[in-house]
Symmetry: C2
Amino acid sequence: MSAEPRSRTPVVDTDIHNAVPAGALRPYLPARWRRHAEVFGSHTHGGSLYPKGSPAAARRDAWPPSGLPAGGDLPFMREQHLDHYGIEYGVLNCLHGAGTQLDPDYAEQLCRAVNDWQVAEWTDKEPRLRASVAVPYEDADRAAAEIRRVGPLPDFVQVLLVARSAAPLGDRRYWPMYEAAQDVGLPVGIHFGGGARGVPITAAGWPSYYIEDHTAMAQAFQAHVVSLVVNGVFERYPGLRVVLIEGGFAWLPPLTWRLDHHWRRFADEVPHLRRPPSDYVREHLWVTTQPMEEPHDPRQVLDVFAHLGGTDRVMFSTDYPHWDFDDPWRAFGVSLPEPARQAVFAGNARALYGLAPAAAAVGGVGA
Amino acid sequence: MSAEPRSRTPVVDTDIHNAVPAGALRPYLPARWRRHAEVFGSHTHGGSLYPKGSPAAARRDAWPPSGLPAGGDLPFMREQHLDHYGIEYGVLNCLHGAGTQLDPDYAEQLCRAVNDWQVAEWTDKEPRLRASVAVPYEDADRAAAEIRRVGPLPDFVQVLLVARSAAPLGDRRYWPMYEAAQDVGLPVGIHFGGGARGVPITAAGWPSYYIEDHTAMAQAFQAHVVSLVVNGVFERYPGLRVVLIEGGFAWLPPLTWRLDHHWRRFADEVPHLRRPPSDYVREHLWVTTQPMEEPHDPRQVLDVFAHLGGTDRVMFSTDYPHWDFDDPWRAFGVSLPEPARQAVFAGNARALYGLAPAAAAVGGVGA
């Protein structure tokens, strides 16, 4: 563990992964779907997880002595993560893959179970945690219904989609989810991962290595940003806010430059866009930091923030308990100016997710 | 046309498109394949061309009075482009789609015809022009044979691939082409476009609009860069040089940052890589300028060049006669320092393609 700094800034961690221990969802599933889980089990066209030797892609030290999976033991998470780093709030993104299930009824039931389990086992028990709504994202009407069912609860601060979907996420098939998210006032997070359903995971087909798979995830995020903007999602749902989680973001300014340039020439094709694409990106998109692309010269991080138009849409995240965890005490190779630092570590996330500053913050990151 | 500047720097234009007029390849095709062209014609899974109203995606003013297609009339190209802008050398990238043909024998024969036609009708007639070798790129053994057949001719300075291939271009199926290119000493250019053969053109599936298609081309380039590097192509072929043509490049530094970061963790998976991915990129990759991503603040172009590690692998291109042509007299929103400007407009391309500075350059771009 890293050395504790002298002075502190509160930390809102916008990407913590709570894991579902074996059998934990059973009490939350109707009997018919408990049987389905026993007889048929999971059926997805899933992605690849790394590393296999450390299940759930977790840090080796994040496996709790209880025998529960990494991210599956709340008391251990409290001690190792929330208390240790002085996390003011943590946003749970449960990557159980419920929404990735091919059987649409099972996907729906499993998402409901995950959400009910999150309230009962996590947010009810730990006031620093908030959860993201698991949704059967390839079945947008049912996903919308689930957003309307649990989204209004104070336990939830976000709707959770994944980057590898069956189509670019601006496609109209997905719009009912955006309408529901806007109606209940929740941002939509798009997280690294997902099932892809046969869509090659690079824009040039299937790659050979996991490092290509992992690196190409940024391409899926790029496709979604373009798709959401040019399909007019933000014109249709002006209150919609989207968070790119674990997708990096240094690629975002070049993408908006390219897209603005094309828009000046292709505006006739997309007359539903009333403003340059970069305007929608600036207003409707947030990003999380882990895993931030790290320039060889760390000062170039400041160029990237300048290209983004500032740090007001950048939110710190750790990805706890995954292997590629970012330590709040060591994140960023450079010092950010003080107001930006506080905004990135806490202020931006508080504002987006509607979290009040904790009265007496304990811990946090040093100045 | 733009106002002519006072002083001049020679221009090497690294991306000019010569077009094949109707019937022009007939004399270069064997009788059996002339019949095939008449009876079966083109059969590809092709991409989308824009705009339809101006065939061959050309500038409206680039259609020659002769009635030949834009880019298909050498005397007109000389007057409108080579003479007007004082082009010292131009690299022809003929996008006839010969290599995209599904019938492998037809693809091979059509590529041979395109190459023989380029020598007879272009490079033999105009000393400022050099051509790229058309190859049946999905059939690497035959592509390699064509590279060995015509690559040694002084008419050719490059092997031409396209960004939308059936697989990422580092895949071993493509390696015979790289061996041949290395052997004959030619760089391999990867140009915007291609047939994709059913691979969705974004990493998240099929998009709705042409603006998405056009913007997503950068994703295909990203996939190829990662694929070439991590499949060890540059370890296997240390003399291989690759040019990314019309793919932009502001996305390249973030990609190499991301990839280096992953490589530090996934090195075990790709033990054939002996150095960080960015080393291979720095040594083996060149980029052309059109269409460069243009930041809203033009000075940020200089950040992008700094992130790239300098301008020594950046080569100016116009994309003549296409609609998204870059005017040499207006390119770049900022002034480059003088040595960099000369390198980008001429020096880098001369060095890569082995072109001697013309004794008495006429025209060029102003200081």
